[in-house]
């Protein structure tokens, strides 16, 4: 992440992607598709034919591959924003703990233990 001169600087926070204008532009199509999942009719259309639905929203190959392999970290890398991706996770019936585990290389149970360990 490079700083923009004259703007708030971005410190490097390991394991964290700052969702700024650059990421928002990169992930626009992906996030726009996920935003459409607020409506059940759109979720059904995706489930019916994911490839056609991704094509309709103009996702690039890296974004399509990330979704085909349910790779959350890759979705983030490709500009996905977790609030919109959460609606995709809903289609796949993944809880936030499932999604946490998938990103940190833990099982869901291990991830829940990790959460508890910070009490």
């Amino acid at each position: 992440m490079h700083d923009m001169p004259g703007h708030d600087y971005h410190i490097d926070i390991p394991g964290t992607t700052i969702f700024d204008g650059r990421q928002a532009m990169k992930g626009y199509a992906l996030n726009k598709m996920c935003y459409s999942f607020n409506k059940a009719v759109n979720r059904d259309a995706f489930k019916e034919d994911p490839e056609a639905y991704m094509e309709k929203f103009g996702l690039n190959d890296a974004q399509k591959d990330a979704i085909r392999s349910t790779n959350i970290l890759a979705m983030i890398e490709e500009g996905g924003n977790i609030y919109y991706l959460a609606k995709l996770a809903g289609i796949f019936k993944l809880s936030v703990q499932d999604v946490g585990g998938m990103q940190t290389g833990m099982t869901t149970e291990e991830f829940k233990e990790y959460l508890l360990s910070q009490a």
């Binding site: 703007h7 708030d8 600087y9 971005h10 410190i11 926070i13 390991p14 394991g15 964290t16 992607t17 700052i18 969702f19 700024d20 204008g21 928002a24 626009y28 996030n31 726009k32 996920c34 935003y35 999942f37 607020n38 059940a40 979720r43 959350i72 970290l73 983030i76 924003n81 977790i82 609030y83 919109y84 991706l85 959460a86 609606k87 809903g90 289609i91 936030v96 703990q97 999604v99 946490g100 990103q103 940190t104 991830f111 990790y114 959460l115 508890l116 910070q118 009490a119």
Partner: protein, 281 residues
Amino acid sequence: MAKILGGITTSHIPAVGNAIQNELYDDPYWKPFFDGYPKVHEWVKNNKPDYVINIYNDHGLGFFLDQMPTFAIGAAHEYRNEDEGWGLPELPPFPGAPELSWHIIESMVADEFDITSCQELPVDHGFVVPMQLFWPGAPNNPDMPRAVPVSANTVQHPIPTLKRALDFGKALGRAIESFPEEAKVVVLGTGGLSHQLEGKRAGFINREFDEYCLNNIAHNPEELTKISRMELVEKAGAQGTEFLMWMMMRGALGDNVTELTRNYHIPISNTGAGTLLLECA
């Protein structure tokens, strides 16, 4: 003139909505969380506010990245939730207060806070869950106040600074207290505390930082304005930036507040869950 009675903050995690729906109040996982609310219920019942200013952050229901307001204020007759992609129950509408909304918008813009007004605004769990926590059965509660939603952007950087959030709250307080109606108002700040949903740091919670915020917000909120936004991301987690809503609420309450109740519990879902009730002098 309207009077601000106090402010209430709470986390607004979607899982809480589920727990309410399934009445898990005594479930061992949920009990330490729900134990934070009886005192709030009592206060709300005794004070019966006429209006609720609900300061929350939208999570991708009301706004998309095509047009992302930094500060938005609802000015509708009613507000509806939606299923948010997860099949959440769709509730009857929450009654709005457009006269108060437009008064606040007029006052804030005159005070040089340039906000976005919304005559239609679908409200998400950030707005709904706190209503359900404070007014059980909401919106079907006989004491349900009419609502003005205020949403701040924490989806996309740049987000507002903590100082701006506190100053926004101060201007909001002036706006409310100049509303020419004998009315009682409560201000909510919803979201937080520390949590991070995405990336390899997903699951990060920071008790020490949350307690620092809880210990300062009532009587020393200016201290918290020294926290930079990137420091907030680092210490509260990427979604812990929702603490801005607490700062906005705090600003509206004026200098003299009394802390009536506080609760903090780790974890609820992926979050350090906090609740605070502050009463104005």
